[in-house]
Each structure stands twice: as structure tokens, then as C-alpha cells.
């Protein structure tokens, strides 16, 4: 979970069995009819259907439950096809519209049923961009960011993205059609402590949550850690959680009065307050 909070994504390489990948290629090529927005999984995908079996793979089921909890709704799904030598890439974007929810989040499952090479234009994504508030393709001017991820993966790979992650389908320069099946899920429960929390206080969690990425500007990168600390507070219910004091420092406004102390008096051997102020104003402080 800490990895997801830092990166905005979770990648599971080659977890779908080959026979299902083979079936998926023809299933996706035939087109998948749309479903009403916000459909429960059992209604969207009948028992035995390929999407339902995909969601039943233990790693997929576990990741989905950890991220959005039980009984999520299917927001929508889509088959994404990148045609060979198509000549252009998608502009970098975040899906849907600008999303100003406090900390709750949707996830997008992306399933790649075939081997994806660099030339095939695997999905571009920008690690750690999910907390940046932008509206869809307004980020289109950014062609490349330092440390970006250009997906190259084996067949049967599933990636979960936070809804806010910047991404886009890259230009397919190969001779092969590239398929990806996307399903967006909405949570129906508060996303708190939904995962295996047995290692919640391990040093690796802190290390992961304070990770920075090469494209972060020096100053704004600190704000990313601040916002991550708030997200971790939401996910754990720990209202005092912090990362390297970033939140605590800037919210520290004590209201308790100081205990009363005797008023200091000037003596010939100790400098007066007025003298000390004069020293400060002279720049000697």
C-alpha cells in the first residue's frame, strides 16, 4: 500500500495465465459492450465471463480489495487499441475530470494480454503524479518527464492506477496491434485499513512513503511528501501520522499559555532588553 501511495500505481507482472491471455485477445478484438456507470461487479460481469475470471485471480482480487475494499462498483470499462504505425501518441492526461475529493480514490485496472515491447507503445505513466490536481489533457504539453515509466511487460500483466495518475497511450511504432482492457472501480466503503497491515510500522513503509521521483521540482517535491502524509492519515485513521515532521511543523499553533515566570529585571552586569534589540537591529544577532 505504501508503494501505491508513493507511486500511484501497483504493477503485477504476468499474473494472468497464458490460456486466458489467448482468449482475451479475441474477446477484446471483438469489442466489449458498455455497461451503465456504477454497476456492481456481479451485474457487470456474469460468473464465468472473462472479466469476472480476471477479477477472480487471487493477486487481482487481493489488490482490488486492498485498494478500494469489498463490493466496488464498475465505473466504466473500455478496450484500448493502439494501431500499428498510427503516427501519434495520446497526450499526457489524467482520466475523467479534475477530482478534488479529500483522499478517497478510484482505481483503474489495466490488463495487457500480450507481451508489450517498447516499440509497441506501452502505456506511459508518471510515477508520483497522482496527487497533482489537473484537468484531463491540460498536461498535454508535457511530452516527457524525467523518471517516467514506459510500460514494457510480459503477457498477462495487470497494473492498478490511482485515478489521478498522469498517463497516456504511446505511439505504436511496431507492426502489431496492441490491446489493453481497462476497468475503473469506485469504492463503496471508507478506504481505511483494508489491506494486510501486519507491517504497518516497519521502516520500509516510511522509506517508501518518503520516496521522491526525478521529475519532482525541489520545492514542490516537499509538498508531495506533505500530501502523502495526509493520504496515509486517511488510509490508516492515524490523525497524528507524519513524515519527517512536514505536516506537524506547519500546523503547530500552540494555544496553551506559558506558565507565569518572574519578570526579569535589569542589572548593571546583564545587558538590557533594549540593548539586545539594538544588537539585533545592527545585524549582529
Amino acid at each position: 500500500m505504501a508503494h501505491f501511495v508513493a507511486h500511484g500505481s501497483l504493477r503485477l507482472d504476468g499474473i494472468v495465465p497464458p490460456e486466458m491471455n489467448e482468449e482475451a485477445l479475441s474477446f477484446l478484438a471483438a469489442g466489449v459492450p458498455g455497461i451503465p456507470f456504477g454497476t456492481p461487479v456481479p451485474d457487470a460481469y456474469p460468473e464465468g465471463s472473462l472479466p469476472r475470471r480476471l477479477l477472480g485471480i487471487p493477486q487481482v482480487e487481493g489488490a482490488l480489495r486492498s485498494l478500494v475494499g469489498p463490493d466496488p462498483l464498475v465505473d466504466h470499462h473500455a478496450v484500448h487499441i493502439r494501431e500499428p504505425k498510427e503516427g501519434s501518441a495520446q497526450p499526457l492526461h489524467a482520466d475523467a475530470i479534475i477530482d478534488v475529493r479529500g483522499r478517497a480514490f478510484d482505481v483503474q485496472l489495466m490488463y495487457y494480454p500480450q507481451d508489450v515491447t517498447l516499440e509497441m507503445g506501452g502505456t506511459l505513466s508518471v510515477p508520483g503524479s497522482h496527487l497533482r490536481r489537473v484537468n484531463e489533457t491540460d498536461t498535454g504539453r508535457y511530452q516527457n518527464l524525467l523518471g517516467q515509466s514506459r510500460l514494457v511487460c510480459p503477457a498477462g500483466t495487470v497494473v492498478f492506477l490511482h485515478h489521478g495518475l498522469w498517463h497516456g497511450g504511446r505511439r505504436n511504432d511496431s507492426d502489431t496491434v496492441r490491446y489493453m482492457f481497462k476497468i475503473r472501480f469506485n469504492p463503496t466503503v471508507r478506504q481505511q485499513l483494508l489491506w494486510d497491515t501486519s507491517d504497518l510500522h516497519s521502516p520500509e513503509v516510511h522509506e517508501e512513503l518518503t520516496r521522491t521521483f526525478p521529475w519532482y521540482e525541489q520545492a514542490t517535491g516537499r509538498l508531495e511528501i506533505y500530501n502523502r502524509a495526509l493520504m496515509w492519515r486517511f488510509l490508516t485513521g492515524d490523525a497524528r501520522f507524519d513524515l519527517d515532521h512536514w505536516v506537524t511543523r506547519v500546523t503547530n499553533e500552540p494555544t496553551t499559555a506559558a506558565p507565569s515566570t518572574p519578570t526579569p529585571t535589569s542589572t548593571p552586569s546583564s545587558p538590557s532588553t533594549a540593548n539586545a534589540t539594538t544588537e539585533f537591529e545592527r545585524g549582529n544577532a
Binding site: 506511459l124 497533482r132 504539453r141 516527457n144 524525467l146 497516456g168 504511446r170 521540482e217 525541489q218
Partner: protein
């Protein structure tokens, strides 16, 4: 008319022009190249200054604006955008 404009957008790590490049985009008015999203993992220059040293002319830099009150901790677009141009004689 045989002069065409090439545009380079660099996103830097601070507001200083000699800061490290963290993002980039290119648009080629000559039509000789077709840069696009996700076409490279390596920045064209290490710093913004390196672009000047290579002959790019700076035509715009992001203004430095204070955050909107109440949104001081929000993160959104990259802040330090520098736009450069080169004028290219397409007869060459």
C-alpha cells in the same frame, strides 16, 4: 519564406535557468521530425543553460506567482517552464 521555428519547452527543478531539466517537449516547425508524448527517457539538455549554450533562444519563462490563499499545499502543474526557439532555414 524558408525560415521555420523549432520550439523547445524545458521544465526545470527550480526557477533558475541553470537548474536541472525535469521535463521537456519539442515541436518542429520544419516538419523534419515529429516529437511526441513518451518518445524519450533522456532529456535533450541537463540544464536550461545548456540549451542556451547550444544556440536556443529563450522566449518565455514562467512568472513566479504566490500560491492562492488556502491552496498553499496543493500540487498541480510544473512550475518552472522555459520556452526556447530556434529559427531554421529550411533551404539548408
Amino acid at each position: 519564406m524558408s525560415t521555420r521555428q523549432q520550439v523547445l519547452a524545458l521544465y526545470l527543478g527550480t526557477s533558475a535557468l541553470d537548474a536541472k531539466v525535469v521535463g521537456w517537449a519539442r515541436y518542429d516547425g520544419t516538419g523534419r521530425t515529429t516529437p511526441t508524448t513518451g518518445d524519450s527517457d533522456e532529456p535533450p539538455y541537463v540544464t536550461g543553460l545548456d540549451a542556451l549554450l547550444d544556440g536556443w533562444r529563450l522566449i518565455q519563462a514562467s512568472p513566479m506567482l504566490p500560491p492562492f490563499p488556502g491552496h498553499e499545499y496543493d500540487v498541480s502543474f510544473l512550475k518552472h517552464e522555459f520556452l526556447f526557439e530556434k529559427l531554421v532555414d529550411t533551404r539548408i
